[in-house]
Symmetry: C2
Subunit: 422 residues, 2 copies
């Protein structure tokens, strides 16, 4: 325990600044963008450098490699699925632990109904979610159903175009990020969830009017238990997905998972674990999260190198098993659209998996408009070490200001996908 | 991935502030100090509350309970040891992976010699440490040796009273926190290590002159690998402790581990794993870290509840096995001194283990002077929920401004312990 931070830091200054390596000339971060050692034996003294090299040397066990045949691919796919089940650490719940979701409210909207449901995936817990049902859809006229998982800071109400958790009124112009609203208007059932800790399931942040949700402390509590934010999120989302399979108005054989930004992480986890999911809408750039952590080593003026994200993205040993494109490749041959680019290298990887599976057309990928022309994209085979966040985004063909739900790509893709199903 | 933090936070404001539970009146943190639900069914909507209840309900598997007989105690002690080995996840290294430590420099000081050594516990890594040897001590005249582990922000040079990592001069008045210096002046060999990421093994912080060490990003990198800051620290310290056992000038049967503040964590880990350690100097208050995380739930004005420490203290599932006093109790009957108080409740627990082991006198505990009189200590059986950091410290009888190495208690205790050994 440290119980006296500041005074001890002062001590540490004395202890640290008096070292030979102390600042003699202005510190230039760019000169130290990558880990280097000046020792003859090539060993590192820096603990951070030592651990960086450990991580760099520990190649993911389950990389997808082009050239697998269909048998090898199926075996690898099973391994990815088992690894994801192990990493997500979902608790085993019996029917006596949990009860089925209940409908708590229903309101009519323009062309559809919004229903408020509650799930009870853990004893002592309630997880509210919203269901948008197009008029005329029922057990006799079932339609594809889409599980909508929001991005960081977004709420299920935002996705549905509702103005409050009480559903007292809908928003006049829901806006481009209201994923679920766009889907119900297309005639699909949309099931919208919150991400844990944000929106209705936040703790006191809404009441305090802070406008910020504390994902980090929630994640810390989960990690202390050996669980993780993604493990908890995917458990709750899976519980609701299982419920969707039992709803007569939803086509159990036409279930889609649609994730925006942060929501693409549970999308990947569910996709790897659940073969019943029919298709996927991946609305973010296809990030190589492991590579990103290894190359984003440009220090700040205090000599501190960043980590790309906070601990809500930490799943111990996750990146020792696979990087994100491997998981996405393991979804083949199920229909998948990626809407916000990434590296051509990574799309080629995913594409090769779909081709091998004999369903090349089942994978659709769009780049940001800014990088739609191949000539505007950097031909990157491997990310250079020692870069900062903005350089990573540039090389990954990411246009942050235009990160939004790409209805213009997704809706036509779904129409084509379901043209014979409605 | 979230690639557009601020704009999405704005979205989230819209999404969140428009909820029914939004701030209508000023938010009073004290009114929400503990987790409560207003639901009839007693279930919680708050993810943080749900996970808090999961952690609260998951009692540590290996609590020490007074009333064990010696056979039960021995069996429990083995379980604690096995659990610690599992949690620390030390890599298995063969002699071909690593080489023995080497002496790289030696300087004469007033009444002793300071030696600079390098250990190579991992391929590609070097871990420097210092050894203070009293004049006249050698293979023919071995003495007890003490492994000194510093606190947060402290360096091995600070512990040794050296002015720089090059040992170009010693400090005139080393000060009260120079643990190793105090020990060598008493005639013991003192082995001083850095904590990973701080002092010489820091990354670029010294070079940048920031005066701060980044423990957190280092810890994050370790956690990604399924390791932890304490796992890495205890691995490096154990490697050096094993080397100490082979040094003819050190009494292998009289090895002591002395930890200050943060350094008490590797002390507990090593103590549980290594039965060869003869005695322990625990220089901090005896904290109930699990209980602390559960009771420190007083939110701030943004409605965010704190976590007591950063992720350099996170070892997934550690607190599902034991709380700190249980580990300390498992050290019985080996000589142990705790120098900075805590709850009488916890000292009574440790004392009962020592009594059961028939060595009640082997455990010595001092409170901070401010709380030396029992009348000045709160009689706390269990910490009340909903408190903040300062209240926790007050109830735990902690006097933060007086957190320093208690030579006045430790040195006489060691003299009595080794009166027949020198």
């Amino acid at each position: 325990m440290r119980i006296r931070l500041l005074p001890i830091i002062l001590l540490s200054c004395t202890g640290m600044l008096s070292t030979e390596s102390s600042a003699k000339m202005p510190f230039d971060p760019a000169e130290h963008a990558v880990f280097e050692t000046t020792r003859q034996d090539g060993r590192y003294v820096s603990s951070r450098a030592i651990v960086h090299n450990l991580m760099d040397g520990r190649k993911p066990r389950l990389r997808y490699s082009s050239g697998m045949d269909s048998l090898q691919f199926a075996a690898w796919q099973d391994e990815v699925s088992r690894a994801m089940e192990r990493l997500m650490r979902h608790p085993y719940m019996t029917d006596t632990d949990i009860k089925s979701p209940t409908l708590t409210a229903r309101y009519s909207r323009d062309g559809y109904t919004v229903e408020r449901w509650e799930a009870y995936p853990l004893s002592g817990a309630v997880v509210p979610y919203l269901v948008l049902v197009p008029d005329g859809v029922d057990a006799d006229n079932p339609v594809p159903a889409i599980l909508c998982i929001p991005g960081f800071g977004q709420t299920k109400e935002l996705l549905c175009g509702e103005s409050s958790i009480d559903l007292d009124s809908s928003v006049v112009d829901p806006g481009r990020n209201s994923m679920a609203y766009h889907y119900v208007k297309e005639g699909y059932i949309a099931v919208a969830v919150d991400n844990p800790g944000c929106g209705e399931p936040c703790d006191l942040e809404n009441m305090a009017g802070s406008g910020r949700a504390d994902y980090v402390t929630l994640s810390r509590a989960l990690l202390e238990l050996g669980w993780s934010y993604l493990g908890y999120t995917s458990y709750v989302d899976r519980h609701i997905l299982e419920w969707m399979k039992t709803q007569p108005s939803m086509r159990a054989d036409r279930l889609v998972v649609s994730g925006f930004s942060l929501g693409t992480e549970p999308l990947m986890a569910l996709g790897a674990m659940d073969r019943d999911i029919y298709a996927f809408v991946y609305n973010d750039f296809l990030c190589t999260t492991r590579e990103r952590a290894l190359v984003m080593t440009m220090p700040d003026n205090n000599g501190m190198r960043p980590w790309p994200n906070d601990i809500s993205h930490l799943i111990p040993e996750f990146l020792c098993e696979f990087d994100f494109p491997d998981i996405v490749a393991s979804l083949a041959p199920r229909p998948l659209i990626c809407t916000e680019g990434g590296l051509d290298r990574d799309f080629d990887l995913v594409r090769s998996a779909y081709s091998m599976a004999g369903e090349a057309d089942a994978f659709t990928a769009y780049h940001y408009t800014k990088f739609a022309d191949k000539a505007d994209r950097e031909p990157v085979d491997s990310m250079p070490a020692g870069i900062d966040r903005s350089t990573f985004f540039r090389l990954a063909n990411v246009d942050p200001p235009n990160h939004y739900f790409k209805a213009e790509h997704v809706l036509p893709w779904l129409r084509a996908l379901f043209k014979d199903d409605k």
